[in-house]
């Protein structure tokens, strides 16, 4: 409930016309009415466009339904049928492993590379501001454009990456089949994700590093502590919670990654890069298994909530220790 009692003793704000008391207008807009007025549009929109679809989707996940075939008859209740079918399907489990084989290397490399870059940039040198601003650009760009352009650079025949590898450095005779090799394709997706999101991990590590008070290092130097000791006992405990927030955000985003894969490989070659989101899209909008797709969506949702909870628990423990 809105709080209508206000302290009357607060200092008067200097205003040019504050000599005489004004008569307040719009007094019918009490705090309570104002709170309702201000909150309701946001709440209505969220309920209508975020929550209602979610509930509908939950219902659909318990039904046999296809927007194309069952348009006339409507959804048919089959209980846990979709879930049972999905969870007993080896292909679905494979796609969970496939998604993990993208998320873990991508987030891992971004973390290590981003942290290393933050260490490099955590000092003053000429052009630091300009350099950092430039490095921030990739993560703000449209994933469609990024994927499209890497697709161009990764072309096997005339792509610039293969020109470097094959013609300039002679590392490989035929070049790398970035997007058409079953083994390489997923790593190409990782590479593009690393290009886009390492700056984010750099930024968050840098915020952590600049939060470490300098006097701690000075005190450690008086005690002749080694560089490793300083890193392990001063830097790491202070930056760990912040960096973990970064890992949390990146893991959740990488898990639901869609655009980049969809444009870059379309899930191929074969199913080599068909991560969960792409599979769900395929299920719902190519095969039109609407009910089954909804069930997969809910399984994904449960996994991401569990994952986020796990990371948040680690984060809280770190904070409690620090």
């Amino acid at each position: 409930m809105p709080d209508t009692t206000l302290p009357r003793d607060s200092a008067s704000l200097a205003r040019p016309d504050s000599s005489g008391r004004l008569r307040p207008r719009y007094t019918w807009l009490t705090d309570r009415r104002l709170a309702w007025l201000f909150l309701s549009p946001t709440m209505i929109l969220l309920l209508l466009i975020a929550i209602f679809p979610l509930i509908w989707s939950l219902y659909l996940s318990f039904t046999q339904y296809s927007v194309i075939q069952d348009a006339a008859t409507g959804p048919r209740w089959i209980g846990l049928g979709n879930y049972a079918q999905l969870l007993s399907d080896k292909d679905v489990w494979n796609r969970f492993t496939l998604t993990a084989s993208f998320v873990v290397p991508a987030v891992g490399i971004e973390l290590l590379l981003g942290f290393a870059l933050a260490l490099l940039l955590n000092r003053n040198f000429k052009g630091r501001g300009g350099l950092m601003t430039l490095m921030l650009i990739p993560m703000m760009l449209s994933p469609v454009v990024v994927a499209l352009f890497w697709y161009f650079m990764m072309r096997a025949d005339v792509g610039i990456l293969n020109y470097f590898i094959r013609d300039l450095l002679h590392l490989s005779e035929r070049g790398v089949f970035w997007l058409t090799s079953l083994k390489v394709a997923m790593w190409s997706v990782v590479l593009v994700d690393v290009w886009m999101w390492t700056p984010f991990m750099m930024l968050i590590s840098l915020a952590g590093l600049s939060a470490v008070p300098k006097y701690l290092y000075e005190a450690a130097d008086v005690d002749r502590a080694s560089a490793w000791f300083k890193f392990r006992h001063i830097t790491l405990p202070i930056i760990a919670p912040l960096v973990l927030i970064g890992v949390l955000f990146r893991t959740m985003d990488a898990y639901k990654l869609f655009d980049t894969v969809y444009v870059l490989t379309g899930g191929g070659p074969g199913r080599a890069t068909q991560v969960l989101s792409v599979y769900l899209y395929q299920l719902a909008f190519r095969e039109f298994s609407t009910g089954k797709g909804s069930a997969l969506g809910y399984i994904m949702l449960i996994v991401i909530i569990a994952l986020a909870n796990l990371l948040i628990r680690v984060l809280n423990r770190l904070r409690a220790e620090g």
Binding site: S142, V144, L148, F149, Y255
Partner: protein, 312 residues
């Protein structure tokens, strides 16, 4: 390591360290900047130059740059895709300007509304005692954690039944909703930092609450609202999945248009690069403007203690 220098970590400089430092920095710079450089260079190339091996790297030195691709972005220079300098300019507009306009209308409209509505809600959460405030705030945040692909199916069905597909209204409403949680969380954090004495003083002077908000709080909040707006705008500007599915032929923004390019067998890479450059330019400018708010923005306000100064 027996140095007694006062700031050893930043000031200890050996030659090897210096070399490593600049080497690392150079490699990183090349890795992150080369694709952007290559995009721009490609957009300046003739059709025959684009896939040339060995490639040409430097305009004016290696090859003669051309503006024909940029012309082709906006006009139908050639219908068949063969662009040469001899091609007579066809001044008829291509479909790109329309898509760009759609992006501006949808993105701009959604941003303005999301920021206004979200700011009002954030003010309410910050200043009034609301029953179950923490739960409501978490509820708002949780709508943002969903993988968008999960709500794609029901949104698609809902928009079909409500006749909101292929319309400006539908996609704008959707982008407002995706932007709202972000605005509420960012602006709540901001309002919590402004002392409430500001408006309370104005109210003891005889302003009503709504007048105090309009005259005192709003001017104070405007810079934060603008920074937040840029993030909402960039998200809407870049969004692909929903608009691709909901608006394939009407009120389509630029990303699906760009994606459609790779559907056609022969891709006109020069034109594609030029289109991308035109499309990315606003984002790059906005990134530059909000660089100091970036960390807070991309972490949804979760990192708020430290404001990182990026500009020197």
């Amino acid at each position: 390591m027996a140095t007694i220098a006062p700031k050893p970590l930043t000031q200890r400089r050996s030659i090897a360290g210096g070399v490593l430092f600049w080497l690392g920095l150079t490699i990183a710079f090349v890795f992150f900047m080369f694709p952007l450089y290559w995009l721009i260079v490609t957009s300046l190339k003739q059709r025959s130059e684009v896939t040339l091996l060995p490639p040409t790297f430097v305009p004016f030195v290696d090859f003669e740059p051309t503006t024909i691709n940029y012309l082709a972005v906006f006009t139908r220079v050639s219908e068949l895709g063969t662009i040469t300098s001899d091609t007579k300019p066809n001044t008829e507009l291509s479909t790109f300007p329309l898509h760009l306009l759609n992006s501006v209308v949808v993105g701009g409209g959604a941003t303005i509304l999301a920021v206004i509505l979200g700011t009002l809600a954030a003010y309410t959460f910050s200043r009034f005692k609301i029953k179950g405030e923490a739960d409501l705030m978490f509820f708002i945040l949780s709508t943002r954690m969903l993988p968008p692909i999960v709500v794609l199916i029901p949104i698609f069905l809902m928009f079909t039944y409500a006749n909101l597909r292929e319309s400006y209204l539908g996609i704008t409403l959707l982008y407002i909703t995706t932007g709202l949680p972000f605005v509420v969380w960012m602006m709540k954090g901001f309002f919590d930092e402004i002392p409430r004495e500001y408006e309370e003083a104005a109210m003891t002077d005889g302003y009503s609450r709504i007048e105090a908000i309009w005259k005192i709080v709003l001017p104070e909040a405007l810079p934060a609202m603008l920074a937040t707006a840029v993030f909402v705008l960039i998200t809407a500007w870049n969004e692909f999945v929903f608009v691709q599915l909901l608006n394939p032929s009407r009120a389509t923004t630029v990303p699906p248009f760009l994606y459609a390019i790779i559907g056609y067998g022969q891709i006109e890479w020069g034109r594609m690069a030029a289109t991308s450059v035109v499309f990315l330019l606003p984002v790059v400018i906005f990134t530059f403007l909000v660089r100091n708010h970036l960390l807070r923005g991309v972490t949804f306000g979760a990192v708020r203690r430290k404001r990182l100064e990026i500009s020197n």
